[in-house]
Point group: C2
Chain length 213, copies 2
């Protein structure tokens, strides 16, 4: 019924017949809440949309909404691509320069995302620049991604994952990449996200083009 459901069809219950009825219902409820939320936000904006309205449209109780998502922001944002990325990173040849591995993995992640649900990718970015709470949550979630990055960085560089150097490096990457996303949204999604990422990685690798000493 909802166009977004189609876009997210990889995760729809129909594709997982091996699961019990309970699990399939849970997935359906999750999707119903997400779809209701995105629809309501599109109609009235984020702040005007209350949990109660979401619950009504998704035909569940407000308690259930909170059982599935810890906060309102999480309804919009939560997704779990981190393990995928980490796995992909580990699969890269050991001798490959770190930045190249990273570039490759991010390109792949972008492809998956945009193929799967380009609409949502934009809506999220849009919310991130409009609603402080959403942006905060996004930063927080990217920091978690950064923590996973540390693992990979540590493996490659021989540094301890908890070392200051690994942490600073991972976090500066994370911050830079988040900024790409915001930049893209603020400029009306005109640019090619992939191209922006490449430019950002160049900056992170070599510093500013015409800058400093």
């Amino acid at each position: 019924m909802n166009p977004m459901t189609a876009a997210r069809s990889r995760f729809s219950p129909a594709d997982r017949p091996q699961l019990g009825l309970r699990e399939r219902k849970k997935i359906k409820t999750r999707e119903a809440i997400r779809d209701a939320t995105y629809a309501l936000i599109k109609e009235q904006g984020y702040d005007a949309t209350t949990i109660e309205q979401i619950a009504d449209r998704a035909e569940v109780s407000p308690s259930t909404v909170f059982r599935y998502f810890p906060t309102k922001e999480d309804i919009v944002l939560t997704d779990e691509y981190d393990p995928l990325m980490l796995e992909e990173l580990r699969a890269r040849p050991a001798g490959e320069p770190w930045i190249d591995s990273l570039r490759h993995v991010i390109h792949m992640a972008l492809d998956v995302l945009t193929e799967e649900d380009p609409e949502t990718v934009r809506t999220r970015a849009h919310l991130a620049i409009q609603v402080p709470a959403v942006r905060s949550r996004m930063v927080e979630s990217m920091s978690e991604t950064g923590r996973m990055l540390r693992e990979a960085i540590a493996e490659r560089s021989g540094l301890a994952p908890d070392s200051l150097e690994a942490r600073v490096y991972a976090m500066s990457l994370t911050g830079g990449l988040l900024e790409v996303y915001l930049y893209w949204a603020e400029n009306g999604f005109q640019d090619d996200l992939r191209g922006l990422v490449d430019r950002a990685l160049d900056v992170l690798e070599h510093g500013l083009p015409a800058a400093n000493s």
Copy 2:
């Protein structure tokens, strides 16, 4: 009365006799709210401390607390050092390598902060690693600092302040430096913050020590 008031004495009303009674009272109220908040947090922790308690101890109404600080996190965090830093950055010699200028300014900011109120610097870092809402607000506030950094970066490099490159660079710096602060707190404030900053700037300038290609 409160030891923190002494530490923040540069800003106390007594030092600004040229201001009218109204302005002096406002400053006093601000300090009363801050002091009450820090004291209560020390006693009971952040979450257990309510606005009402803060208002009671500061001898103002809850409404007044919100008039002075938009959110509870802001009571703990708000400070205005950005203009100072920007000014100091601009005062550096034009030929100086960018990273050196930055290093110099951050050192200076650290000196000012630790001389003025070392206790608070630690309490904040402590809260930042314990309370997600505070950390979020801190990130947000550092992003604002990052936006000022863009100005300075643009002036030095000739890039547009709104260019992707300037933005990514500023944000990755911001993220990296925030991580230093968190690292320092997580390791019990044992390390010399200044030394950590230097190590972080080295990473940001040259990449990881023994890493990649």
